[in-house]
């Protein structure tokens, strides 16, 4: 539900902020991400970069909720410079931090939504943690391109409304074994039917060191 909202917001941002020279007949990319065993990979971020000059980035704010002592969404892809708010929807405090080079910040114990959003001004991934809930892990993936989408549980991601032309498609995932750069796949976008891109990626085992305790899950909504 929330993801859908975010996607809508993104779409709106794209529509408003990106002046597209070939707006008359936009194309799209339909990407599918599977792991080595052919299972669809959710929460992968597929992005396209145009061969030419960098496209203008959307500036719309994004939201990373803390809900039921989890980060929601698990993966939040944003364009460089996006301010992200961290609303705490639980009735206890959280202490959100990131030591990632992409964005180092700390929101010491707070309730509600901090006044100032965190602006992610460098591309890369920021791993989010909560100092008092070891199992809480979230990812903000900061991209230098406006063309990106996150895969659904079926492993599908659609990047629509883009000008036809030559692009490079890449995929990122929190457990991706290789560098994202190495997933670079050329793709040509034509008007009308979306171009298909398929990624088969190797993932590290899902090993979240400390799972959320069962009783914690029973709390909240």
């Amino acid at each position: 539900m929330r993801r859908a909202l975010v996607a809508l917001a993104l779409a709106a941002a794209l529509a408003l902020l990106v002046p597209n020279p070939a707006v008359t007949e936009p194309g799209g990319v339909e990407a599918i991400v599977k792991d080595e065993r052919g299972k669809p990979v959710a929460d992968a971020v597929v992005s396209l970069t145009a061969a030419g000059a960098p496209a203008p980035l959307p500036r719309a704010a994004a939201v990373m909720d803390q809900q039921n002592k989890e980060f929601v969404p698990f993966v939040l892809p944003v364009a460089v410079g996006t301010p992200v708010t961290f609303p705490n929807r639980d009735n206890i405090r959280h202490h959100v931090y990131s030591f990632s080079p992409a964005k180092r910040f700390e929101l010491p114990l707070y309730i509600g939504t901090p006044a100032a959003p965190v602006v992610f001004d460098k591309p890369g991934s920021a791993v989010l943690g909560c100092n008092i809930h070891d199992w809480m892990v979230g990812h903000v993936y900061v991209l230098a391109t406006p063309y990106f989408a996150k895969t659904s549980p079926e492993g599908r991601a659609r990047i629509a409304e883009i000008a036809p032309g030559a692009y490079e498609a890449r995929v990122w995932h929190p457990r991706l074994k290789t560098e994202t750069e190495r997933t670079t796949t050329p793709v040509t976008v034509a008007a009308g039917e979306p171009a298909e891109v398929a990624f088969a990626v190797a993932l590290k085992p899902d090993r979240r060191p400390i799972r959320r305790p069962a009783y914690e899950g029973a709390q909240g909504n």
Partner: protein
């Protein structure tokens, strides 16, 4: 001989004692072996229990260590310091946290396995993490802990990730396993405890309750075989159990066998004392038995020696009712038999001697000890006197050799005839001879015997005399026989006794002998009356004899009737 029996006795004692000692020794050895095996088993069991206990204790300690390390790794300040690559602060936080949990070492390794900070000193920064395998395990999400040697020191090490919230580094915390740890365990278990790593030549004893020399021995022993066994350390044999406490490390538990055997030593001492007392008693018993056996044997031997020396007056007294008693009884019987035989032989010898001088009857009676025969008594006897006619003249004229030769031949001829008729030869008087019958042994027909003897003598002597007559010697043979009562008994004096018959009958027969011419056998009337049926005789008439008041009717026996038929009445008139 005596020595031999002493040897026999000693041998008996030695064999008896030897057997007893052998049994005792076997018993002792068996019990000792059993006790030793039992003690070993006990120690083995103790070691096994102790090693189980240690393993469990170590496990608990490991869990505590892992928990403590995980707690430390969750510290936000630490995470911050690590994430910001603030190495000096990181090291300081590590030192602080080390003190919090009272660990001996705290290390922080980067994800690439190099040490970022180490409480052992800043010099270790950048070094390879000493237990990379633990990092791999931690990365795989498992509890990573092991006993790890870092240099000469041994640590119980736990590795956990520093999560932010994904791993950004590895935090390792360690408790030292040192001599103090070993000493603590020794206090707990009473065992010698050593912690060892490595194989073969690379065996290192990191911590131990043992002395330096024993550590070296232990290292050699453990290098040999990583199993339980026996090691010869200071203080004797130690039973050893080797139990792994990590991938490369083992705890070696030892207990001196002597310590486990100590409670049994007292028992063995008692056993030994009992055995020794048993041997002494057995010695006494053996000596007693040997003496009991050898004493009758010695007694028998003494008896046998006396018998060998010719003393048959021996009776060994053995009161035992066993084989030896039987042997003694048999010995006594044997000696009795020997004594009897000796007695018989003596008697025969004596009789033979007597017979040379006395008539066989008298000799027999005398040798039988029947001295009563020699006592004076009266008996109706028949007396025979005989001698050679012309012997005095011959003895004067002839060579003494010839005289003796004649006498010898004469006696040799008539002697057997005396014995043949069982006459009692009373005396020789040169050529004369006096024989009587019916004494000392009574006979039913003394007169008949006397006459038969006289006839036989006359016939035998006639042949002998014929030869001498041819050589010119006028020799004849006359015989007189009378019958009547006589006093018979021993006469003479101490040193020379004779058995003599005294009485008229003796005189009469002597006179009749004097009267007889060569070849004549003159018998008195009573004699003739007795033998009338046996003989051919002719009356000689009544002869006046010196010493006799009245003439005596005499018959001349011519010979024995060839057919001893019933005498014809009236043929011979008295």
């Amino acid at each position: 001989m005596g020595l031999h029996f002493h040897r026999f006795r000693s041998r008996l004692v030695v064999v008896f004692l030897g057997l007893f000692a052998l049994i005792q020794a076997t018993g002792y050895v068996a019990v000792s072996a059993f006790v030793r095996a039992s003690a070993r088993h006990t120690v083995d069991e103790e070691l096994r229990l102790a090693s189980t206990l240690f393993a469990r204790q170590l496990e608990v300690r490991t869990q505590q260590l892992v928990a403590a390390t995980r707690l430390l790794s969750g510290d936000f300040a630490l995470k911050t310091a690590v994430a910001t690559s603030d190495h000096a602060t990181t090291a300081s936080v590590l030192e602080n946290h080390r003190r919090r949990v009272d660990a001996d070492v705290l290390m922080l390794a980067a994800l690439d396995g190099h040490i970022v900070a180490d409480t052992q000193g800043p010099a270790r920064r950048g070094a390879e993490f000493p237990a990379p395998r633990l990092l791999a395990e931690a990365e795989a999400g498992r509890d990573a802990s092991d006993v790890v040697a870092i240099g000469r020191h041994l640590y119980q090490l736990a590795v956990v990730p520093v999560l932010a919230p994904e791993p950004i580094a590895w935090l390792a915390a360690g408790f030292a396993i040192d001599d103090r740890t070993a000493a603590d365990l020794r206090r707990l278990s009473g065992l010698q405890v050593s912690f060892v790593t490595g194989h073969d030549a690379g065996v290192v004893v990191h911590a131990s309750t043992l002395g330096a020399a024993d550590r070296a021995t232990l290292a050699r022993g453990v290098a040999g075989a990583r199993a339980s066994g026996v090691l010869d350390l200071d203080g004797g044999e130690h039973l050893v159990r080797v139990e792994p406490v990590g991938r490369d490390a083992v705890v070696v538990l030892q207990r001196p066998l002597a310590e486990a055997l100590a409670p049994y030593d007292r028992m063995l001492l008692i056993l030994l004392t009992v055995a020794a007392a048993g041997v002494v008693l057995a010695l006494l018993g053996a000596v007693l038995v040997a003496r009991r056996v050898s004493r009758p044997v010695l007694t028998l031997a003494r008896g046998a020696r006396r018998v060998a020396a010719g003393d048959f007056d021996v009776a060994v007294s053995v009161s035992q009712r066993d084989e030896l008693g039987e042997l003694a009884a048999t010995f006594n019987d044997m000696v009795g038999g020997l004594r009897e035989r000796e007695r018989v032989r003596d008697e025969l010898e004596r009789t033979a001697k007597l017979k040379r001088f006395f008539s066989p009857q008298l000799a027999d009676a005398l040798s039988a000890g029947d001295e009563s025969l020699l006592a004076s008594h009266r008996r109706h006897i028949t007396v025979v006197f005989c001698d050679l006619r012309g012997f005095t003249a011959f003895a004067e004229a002839a060579d003494p050799e010839d005289v003796m030769r004649l006498l010898h031949a004469y006696h040799a001829t008539i002697g057997p005839l005396v014995f043949a008729q069982e006459g009692t030869l009373e005396r020789f008087t040169g050529d004369g001879l006096m024989v009587f019958f019916n004494d000392p042994v009574p006979c039913p027909d003394p007169a008949a015997r006397a006459v038969r003897m006289a006839v036989a003598m006359r016939d035998a002597v006639a042949g002998l005399l014929e030869e001498w007559r041819r050589r010119g010697h006028a020799l004849g043979f006359g015989t007189g026989i009378a019958m009547g009562d006589a006093t018979i008994g021993r006469i003479g004096f101490e040193g020379r006794f004779d058995y003599a018959a005294i009485g008229t009958v003796t005189n009469l027969s002597a006179r009749l002998c004097q009267e007889a011419r060569d070849g004549q056998i003159l018998v008195s009337e009573p004699v003739y009356a007795e033998v009338e049926a046996l003989v051919e005789a002719k009356p000689v008439g009544a002869l006046p004899l010196r010493g006799f008041a009245r003439p005596v009717t005499v018959f001349d026996v011519l010979g024995l009737r060839t057919e001893p038929a019933a005498p014809a009445a009236g043929e011979v008139t008295p």
